[in-house]
């Protein structure tokens, strides 16, 4: 029986960069536990020798030629930006260093 604690949910929310209120955390854990129990049924299927399917159709080798194509203008690229400066997307200060 999979159990998922409030702490685990809080951890997952951090990983997923979603700020949850305490109330949300209170409700989510039991809800997720019920769902998890239902989906865990996939474990009932004997599938040791079954290959996984990641793509519905057996298409392979779809590539495009190495050619330049018109993209977006700087203005169009920035058109949805919450904030822009000097042709760049302005974002709040970043704490973590790049991986």
């Amino acid at each position: 029986m999979p159990a998922i604690t409030r702490d685990e949910v809080a951890n997952l929310a951090r990983l997923a960069r979603i700020a949850l209120t305490d109330e949300e955390l209170d409700h989510l854990a039991p809800q997720l536990e019920v769902i998890l129990e239902a989906v865990a049924r996939v474990g009932e299927v004997a599938a040791e020798d079954i290959p996984p399917t990641s793509h519905a159709l057996p298409i392979t080798n779809v590539v495009r030629p190495d050619e330049v194509r018109a993209g977006l203008s700087q203005q169009a690229a920035l058109s949805g930006a919450p904030e822009a400066e000097d042709g760049r997307f302005r974002v709040p200060r970043i704490l973590e260093e790049e991986a």
Partner: protein, 507 residues
């Protein structure tokens, strides 16, 4: 012990008690015309966010499509490194959040790299002469580059202390190939040299394949150095650190050396080495810890659903194998014979990163010995003085070949040739332009030479007398006088002839 200036155990001492293990991860930016998953151009230096589209901006609804040239490139790289090419492989999503990542996942490859299981032989100088070590290649796989952030408001333009950042996605989606070695134990004290030689050798191979500019100083070749140490004789390897921001071959060597000393000090003091990412600091020659994370990142890899598997046919792989150029190692073996070099001479060329340059200079018409002389002599000195690599100097093999020809024709002597090369490096133009502009041609006008010789004889009667008396050796002093008077532009051999004609014993 101050935490900001860690102790270091001197290198040789560290090696007497600890055995190091080395790993290297190299990222290569491909020189394709368009990005990995979209048709945006990849050129350097454009205005910010002018080489972007919905795909590389990660806009809702956008989809990636693989660049055919990039697939060919990674297969060729894999073949050049002796790898097996997977008959079928997929892409995977590496999920993590960062503002320079448009989708907050990177399309990469996880447990199905397209190339794996190769090796690269690297030769370095040891106490017992040049020796070859085989570095195992774990894998080479495809992935995409991130955008670039400018951090504004802090003191140094780095992240710490910045108030906000400005992001440019022109670089996002540029094709990257990641090449990972297997761990290399048993190198003992040669770890730093081997690391450097491996990266240099890899760079030469990539350059010969013409898949990348491989300029470390520009970021088209990036190296992460993994180092761990364990007490000599220990059954298990130690905890390893990963050092990033290593931007030159010299830094690779220095970073490895430093990390070994630092880790030895930690272990000597009874501590444990923290498994972490560190950053090489060029100025201080040290590594600094990256921001520590509470837990190791879980990238939650899963197969990329928007891209279909790549399944290169055996025929295609062989076709690409046929396009491989003569690889550096084979080239060098051939040159050893053709140029009658000793292995030591060849090693000197390799160490200086001069092999390709000398080959190109020979192709432009210079004799091998002359080509080597200039690249390993004058030009190597210039490179050292400016702290750059030979290949980054602003002089081409064609120009060097021109200078060699001018000397062979007698239009220049060695001293003048040096001045001409100085001029090329300074950006004054082509060799013949500099000769003309600076008036550096060898004085071969018999009249002018004759006058200068007569003047030297007249000005040095004692020495002239000695020569008349048969002390031919004294001629050198007068030659020197003439050279000085002509600002080094006289043909020294001709001067000597003229002096002896006038002063020497009758034939």
């Amino acid at each position: 012990m101050s935490p900001s200036t860690p102790d270091l155990v001197p290198y040789d001492e560290a090696l007497s008690r600890y055995a190091p293990v080395l790993g290297l991860e190299v990222h290569v930016e491909l020189s394709t015309a368009s990005k990995m998953f979209c048709g945006c151009p990849t050129g350097f230096g454009a205005e910010p966010n002018t080489q972007v589209c919905p795909v590389c901006l990660g806009l809702p609804g956008a989809l990636p499509v693989m660049n055919a040239e990039a697939v060919d490139a990674v297969i060729r790289i894999g073949l050049a490194l002796g790898c097996d090419i997977a008959p079928w492989c997929r892409f995977a999503r590496k999920n993590y959040f960062y503002p320079d990542m448009p989708k907050n996942f990177q399309i990469s490859q996880y447990d199905e790299p397209i190339a794996y299981g190769g090796s690269l032989d690297v030769m370095i100088d040891t106490d017992d002469g040049p020796q070859t070590f085989t570095v195992g290649i774990e894998r080479a796989h495809m992935e995409e580059d991130t955008g670039k952030s400018l951090h504004v408001g802090g003191a140094t333009g780095r992240i710490h202390g910045a108030q906000h950042s400005l992001v440019d996605y022109n670089r996002a989606g540029i094709p990257l190939i990641e090449i990972v070695t297997k761990p290399v134990p048993g190198l003992g004290k040669y770890v730093p040299e081997l690391a450097r030689a491996y990266v240099g050798e890899l760079r030469d191979i990539l350059r010969s394949l013409d898949v990348s500019d491989v300029r470390m100083e520009q970021g088209s070749l990036r190296c992460d150095v993994n180092v761990s140490i364990a007490p000599v004789g220990a059954a298990e390897w130690g905890k390893r650190t990963e050092t990033k921001n290593v931007n030159s071959l010299r830094s690779v060597e220095r970073a490895v050396r430093y990390e070994i000393g630092r880790q030895a000090a930690v272990l000597d003091a009874g501590g444990t080495v923290k498994q972490e990412t560190r950053h090489w600091q060029e100025g201080s020659g040290t590594t600094a810890p990256g921001r520590s994370k509470e837990e190791a990142e879980d990238y939650r890899y899963f197969p990329e659903p928007d891209l279909v598997p790549i399944a290169p046919t055996p025929e295609r792989v062989e076709e690409l194998r046929g396009t491989l150029p003569e690889l550096p190692r084979a080239l060098r073996v051939r040159l050893l014979g053709e140029w009658q070099l000793s292995p030591l001479d060849m090693q000197a060329l390799i160490n200086a990163g001069a092999v390709d340059l000398v080959v190109a200079t020979v192709a432009a018409g210079a004799p091998p010995a002359d080509a080597r002389k200039w690249w390993l002599g004058e030009l190597a000195r210039a490179a050292n003085e400016t702290g750059t690599e030979l290949s980054a100097l602003p002089v081409t093999p064609a120009q060097v070949a021109q200078v060699v020809e001018l000397v062979a024709d007698g239009a220049l002597n060695d001293k003048l040739a040096r001045q001409v090369l100085e001029g090329v490096l300074a950006g004054e133009g082509e060799p013949d332009e500099i000769v003309a502009a600076r008036g550096l041609a060898v004085v071969s006008d018999e009249g002018a030479l004759g006058k200068a010789v007569d003047a030297a004889i007249a000005g040095n009667p004692d020495v002239a007398g000695k020569i008349r008396d048969g002390k031919v050796a004294a001629t050198g002093a007068l030659v020197g006088a003439v050279m000085k008077a002509t600002r080094g532009q006289a043909d020294a051999a001709r001067v000597r002839e003229l002096l002896l004609e006038r002063l020497g014993p009758p034939e």
